[in-house]
Amino acid sequence: MSVRIGIDVGGTNTDAVVLQGDAVVAAVKRPTTADVTSGILAALQAVLSAAPQVDAADVRAVMIGTTHFTNAVIQRQGLARTAVLRLCLPAGQMIPPLYDWPADLREAAGAATYMLPGGYEYDGRPISALDNEALARAIDDIAARGIESVAVVGIFSPVSADQEREVATIVGTRLPGVAVSTSYEIGRIGLLQRENATALNACLAGLAQRTLAAFRAALRQSGLSAQLYLSQNDGTLMTADYVERYPVLTFASGPTNSMRGAAFLSGASDAIVLDVGGTSTDAGALVHGFPREASFEVEVGGVRTNFRMPDVVSIGIGGGSLVAADGSSVGPRSVGYRLPQEALIFGGDTLTLTDVAVHLGRAEIGEPGRVERLDRALAEQAMAYATARLEELVDALKTSPEPVPVIMVGGGALLFENQLAGASQVIRPEHAGVANALGAAISQVSGELDRVFPMDARTRLDVLDEAKAEASRLATAAGADPATIEIVEIDEIPLAYLPSSALRLRVKAVGDLRKS
């Protein structure tokens, strides 16, 4: 039976799970280490020894989810000296590249930017031809500045990528050893956001090589010869080689993996996930096993991008939430990580939601005797208030009026009962503590495109077919088994003020990981 290992490399812990078929056979938590490798190695060794029935040779794939690259951007650490070549002139001059970046990030990336003739119109006509002399001058300047990584970004490259490819080839030839990122492979339509994502990717080039080398070393040292994959933000997988070139696509894979892991553990593919923590409850909706995406643009480290991020809503209700003296409200203020010192049950003098739940007999934590004489009516009122807030959250996230399964995970989940208005059932899965690692292990492979299609003489259906075929091709190229590929998303966006001879389509295809 095929064996997969899922690993979540977080800021604090490195979690690992062994999955045999669809069964979790072992799960462990180890501290994350500064060199990353030894933490993964420790987790791998621990999880393999916890699953003695599994032979290392049976492990077919190792899937890693990591916040390593997001953290590097947020902390402005380990970033490569980066240049942006924008192919746009004479358009695009109103806002130069990276203008909306925080100054400290621009500095950490030693960023240099260039605007050059090039780019395309929405229908694929070139705005200008490439200017080889201007490009050569920019390359000379890039070399003189000791730039390590270059982002190539052309207007409407999602419609036609020829110029970006040509420039990438020229830069690669003239500057061997310099990494090149092209925007058409990274982002959606929306020049600044795609440019930002591509430049962030370029900043991470060196770190990606070092990190992937560390991941591979950990696998080798554990005696595994399995394929290595990393999770991306939409909950699907990329090969390690691909991540080395496109590390930015790992952004925000954490919440996605956690939700998908919870879904897998519960067996529900359409559900609301409530992650009840100490200070807040994060909630998201799963649709066909994937988190629903946020509509608004997402900032990473102060930079606007158009990444696909899960739509996560938070409210200030958690185990450490402060309860009003009369029990009429709970939160949003919380004692947070100081719960073990400040809650009544731990000898503190702050009334928290955990104290109330212990009084009501929902949970046995700390010293229940310390809350025995709490006013019963007050406790019930506070609990009812907190429950009502969770119910509102479920209702807000639901996409149909019918009750839906609610999956409850997180340290505070035990404070709440299984009765929740709007929930068809409340599921509390086992192993919820390693949901992230599990989410990585169960991931599929996707291909996505976002493009404006000129209709020419074709019908809408012809264009849709072309787009679906292209998304499937991208999924296959990413490692999906063609026989299992499904189109999971079609967004058809009419183009206001353009002739109806153009159609913008966003199509996503997803398939199971190819076996070989």
């Binding site: 358009a91 806002i95 929405y122 629903r292 509102e392 149909s400 003020y497």
Partner: protein, 366 residues
């Protein structure tokens, strides 16, 4: 009273303009970055109240025409609007003295400020719509019967088209749009050309200040963790029409416009209710099962429940949780002449009467 635009005021105006965009008008974000960059380079943008504009001033409106999707991908060169206004000057052999936004809702609220930074001309505090509308003749200049020609549009290569005369504003709308498509789907414009006296008679006054007030209110409420929606209505007339989530969005293209129907299911106090909103680039008509709640030209704005971030028709999607706001339209849009151009019948709703929302546009309540 005149004042100088600074980055803080610009930030607020961009938020206010987004909300007044009533779902259309384009996202002001890129325009804001453009103006901010020009301010940082030391350019000045002076905003003047309409009453300070001399009667013999020569005023034009500048902005972008075309597809929002093109303007976020093929960013403008930036000086197309300046080339357009110079083309008008060359045609009439007079010098333009003031700029004014044609449309305070959405991205075109900020273009004249970029034009001002590039030319040194002052911007008049007012506009021709008080909100956003899908067609360029849907403004108080047309309602007042002012000539729309001469009109110029300019592309990223500075190719310039100028209409020295047109039959009517709708003809310009049709022809300018056709040319814009050949210009890559987006272009800079300058029109109409007005005297100071005509501008004062026709423009909706003090709408830049209104956008700024709305933006200031939203920003301080966010900082202080108060409801930004309450803050908006402490500042200007209007009301919450509905709180709900998107359960359906049906879109289609008709005659170059993004038409659609949005369905929201109620949350909180509106639980059990359903609101349906007709879209034609902007939000036009809001109805519950029983009654019409709001009708164009009154403003229907949709914002994020928590942040009051405006939700444009393009980002609408299933499951989004929003609040629908209503604001009374500016008075000039509610006259018989105004309603003929921007009332429900102008959008093909001959059977829907215009029932005005209470309150005075832009006036603080009470």
């Amino acid at each position: 009273m005149s004042w100088l635009l600074d980055p803080d005021a610009l930030e607020s105006i961009a938020i206010g303009a987004g909300i007044l965009g009533t779902g259309g008008g384009g996202n002001p974000y890129n325009g804001k970055l453009h103006v901010r960059r020009l301010l940082e380079e030391g350019q000045r943008v002076e905003i003047v109240a309409p009453e300070e504009v001399p009667d013999d001033a020569l005023v034009t409106s500048v902005g972008s025409i075309g597809a929002p999707i093109v303007s976020v991908e093929r960013l403008a060169r930036g000086d197309e609007i300046v080339v357009a206004l110079r083309a008008l000057e060359a045609h009439v052999r007079r010098t333009i003295t003031h700029l004014i936004p044609g449309e305070i809702g959405g991205s075109n609220a900020l273009r004249p400020m970029a034009g001002a930074a590039l030319t040194g001309l002052p911007v008049i505090d007012g506009d021709g719509m008080g909100r956003a509308f899908p067609e360029l003749q849907m403004d108080t200049f047309s309602i007042n019967g002012l000539a729309i020609a001469p009109a110029a549009i300019v592309d990223i290569h500075h190719n310039t088209a100028i209409w020295t005369r047109v039959r009517d504003a709708k003809t310009l709308e049709d022809q300018a749009r056709a040319v814009t498509i050949r210009m890559g789907g987006s272009a800079g414009f300058a029109f109409p050309l007005l005297s100071g006296a005509e501008t004062k008679q026709a423009a909706i006054p003090m709408t830049i200040t209104l956008a700024r007030r709305i933006g200031d209110a939203v920003r301080s409420a966010r900082r202080e963790h108060r409801s930004p929606i309450d803050a908006i209505f402490a500042e200007t007339a209007g009301q919450v029409l509905f709180t709900g989530k998107v359960v359906d969005i049906e879109r289609r293209m008709a005659a170059g416009f993004a038409r659609g129907v949005l369905t929201l299911d109620g949350l909180g106090e509106d639980r059990g209710e359903r609101l349906v909103i007709d879209i034609q680039n902007e939000y036009l008509i809001a109805r519950t099962q029983e009654r019409v709640v709001a009708v164009v030209p009154d403003l229907i704005c949709i914002v994020d429940q928590q942040t009051a971030e405006p939700v444009s028709t393009e980002v609408l999607r299933y499951g989004l949780r929003v609040v629908v706001l209503g604001m009374p339209a500016p008075d000039p849009l509610k006259t018989p002449e105004g309603l003929a151009i921007v009332g429900p019948s102008a959008f093909g709703y001959a059977d829907v009467p215009f029932v005005p929302m209470p309150g005075v546009y832009g006036a603080p309540p009470g």
